[in-house]
Subunit: 317 residues, 3 copies
Amino acid sequence: MKLSKIASILECEFSGDDIDIEGMNALKDATSSELSFVANAKYVKDIQDTKAAGVIVPESLVEYVPSGCVALVVENSYWSMAVLSKYFAPAIEDNTLPHAKIGEGSSVSDKAEIANGAVIGKNCTILAHVYIGANAVVGDNTILYPSVTVYRDCKIGADCIIHANTVIGADGFGFATNNLGEHKKIYQNGNVVIEDDVEIGSNVSVDRAVFGSTILKKGVRIDNLVQIAHNCEIGEYSVFVAQSGSAGSTKLGRNVVVGGQAAFAGHLEIAPFSNFAARSGITHNIKESGKTYGGFPLMEQRTWLKLQAKIARLLKK
Amino acid sequence: MKLSKIASILECEFSGDDIDIEGMNALKDATSSELSFVANAKYVKDIQDTKAAGVIVPESLVEYVPSGCVALVVENSYWSMAVLSKYFAPAIEDNTLPHAKIGEGSSVSDKAEIANGAVIGKNCTILAHVYIGANAVVGDNTILYPSVTVYRDCKIGADCIIHANTVIGADGFGFATNNLGEHKKIYQNGNVVIEDDVEIGSNVSVDRAVFGSTILKKGVRIDNLVQIAHNCEIGEYSVFVAQSGSAGSTKLGRNVVVGGQAAFAGHLEIAPFSNFAARSGITHNIKESGKTYGGFPLMEQRTWLKLQAKIARLLKK
Amino acid sequence: MKLSKIASILECEFSGDDIDIEGMNALKDATSSELSFVANAKYVKDIQDTKAAGVIVPESLVEYVPSGCVALVVENSYWSMAVLSKYFAPAIEDNTLPHAKIGEGSSVSDKAEIANGAVIGKNCTILAHVYIGANAVVGDNTILYPSVTVYRDCKIGADCIIHANTVIGADGFGFATNNLGEHKKIYQNGNVVIEDDVEIGSNVSVDRAVFGSTILKKGVRIDNLVQIAHNCEIGEYSVFVAQSGSAGSTKLGRNVVVGGQAAFAGHLEIAPFSNFAARSGITHNIKESGKTYGGFPLMEQRTWLKLQAKIARLLKK
């Protein structure tokens, strides 16, 4: 989409070449054909370093936009980004794409729906009522149980098992809110990438990224009714027990174990081999590997146990 | 159904005209062609004021039934109401209803099931494995992702997005229990009403009302794996983050924000613009607007933070 | 499978007759044609008493294997059990089984998938997008709402109602982990047995047993988004409120009431008529009937209330 058209949609001006914008991305990841945005002064450093062709920016931050990067100055940059995101959202289905490719030896139920553009590997088992969206990819030997839904553009590796009624790649929970309290959807134009040898239980939600990918690395194990929000990255062989979850953009190292009903806040970094007891509430980064935590607020699990004993003594006072 | 037939089902007597009863409803909402019930002395005021044609009532409360309202006196009125509710439950599907109407420009997958009596607006996208029940209504431009289930009689507004495997209008969790500990289902003969511009994530459960409607007002945003129980009313632009929920009959004002894994007890009233931190447990009404709460038991979030610091000091004692 | 083949798969030796092994089972339940395993010295007693034909065992525990029971000595017996479990897993679907039997008066949507070998009783209602697996059994008058998935070999009783998008019999969450942190799936070759008059809400996950059965007894009531892990046994008329759950192998007596978001650890025994407040965290056995608990750590609910009052006083210090 031409910059001039974008400026017209956002009702703002711009100066510079009327170049073609291929998509939107985060400040850090945007390429010279992508547009980015900034809504918060704490990202000043990222503005200065961005490679983006242009950036949607409030008046107060325009001075940090590097030369060569077009500034689209708007009142509410987060809202404007939401408005624009819709224009970069691909169609849900696209019948101009080629028919789905099904690998040799794969069994696909005639009650499954495989959208045009999808590619399914060899020796897969795709059961009834599965939906695989446009351009989605499923690796060899993977089993999708009934009513699994894989949204468009998502990639599932080889030797995976996904249990019934799990949803891969629904939209992340993103919207801007104006000062009337109204919400504007931020279209989630990224995807989900699941590597090889991953098993996911039933009724799980793994959301697609707003930009880029939500990633489940090799060997991850996810139990039932788990929430993985947009842009999370789950390290190799990490384990989520039932009804646990993570808010957006949190990154786990390998072999992290997350107990039942435990949950991570967003935008955290968690060291490998960390263990979290059931119902832990994790709201800060974990830098040291190999420890076991519990409680909410979070503390080392042995401290939590000690603290509970101290608390119980209050009854005697 | 004639009162005489109802009396016969409930094995009780009645005096007065053998009028025709069209349905059951709460004491406050019942009309002169509906039957109601009372199981608890705390609703004495509601009995006295009811407009119901008749009321199922234990011997101990019969004196409060107003003249002109028929008293059906039974031993266990809650159980009797459950017994009777089945007789007012409509068939799950009804092939005598007219074929579903699909609005102009709508795309409906041939692997979706649209029951007779359903009405779908213009420019909707109904993907594979969606189920839309009898007499359900879907507004213009609404998108239902794969395996969304909409039970009969539910209404979804215009410009809504409902993500995969979400269930709208399953039965609320209602049953009577006798003194042997056995349960009797209370048929949930109400519906769900979702207004315009609502987005709901994947694997969400919004239950139908026992009587009347469970309501999600305009602009509501619901993340994945959320529970909305029967007869809740969720105010405009309110937000539920993943794995949160509400028990039955709780009413939220507009722009309430509910953090991840937070939950409301039933029968509460929550002031508009209230915020609840992740994992809040809300068990009482919130009367003042615009405050932020956390913890379980609930307190203001800043108090909760202060309290956690105090609790941590116990370790040093 | 011949013992010699098993020894070859596990790369170990064996002495004794090359008998035919029909399956795997727990030490306590294995018959003389089944193989078992032991990974932990705390099960020494169970090894000595086992009726199993053979047992996979580490060197350190071989001395406890009774005479007449073949010892298959391996380095990591839990991992070896996982490796072997795959060989005893039945095919997901089996077209050599006879066509499904549908009882008189049952209505089965032509958009449902009923696998070969399934048996459906009389007067059932099976809605669109339901999946019923090989050899699964559904009793008379049972209603399965859209997109319910019943995995192979599971049994559902008469007069049951299962709401949309619920999954019965997906694999329990079982895997062995080696010292590189890699996981090996333990195939879950048991099933789920649901007795008569059970109602289950939407988006519920009831996992199949690793060996034997996960059991929901007569009259159980389960709300939405609940997790029942492998090998649980839920007593008659017990109630799980929304978003609650139980880890594996926990056994509840009759009429236990589990509040919203409450959860049980695994391998517990819970006395009948126990009540658990919302968000209880139950990590130990409950031996005395009829009490009410709350909190995490768990305590009697009245104690929890008293304790919260004491904790609140810390704010004044």
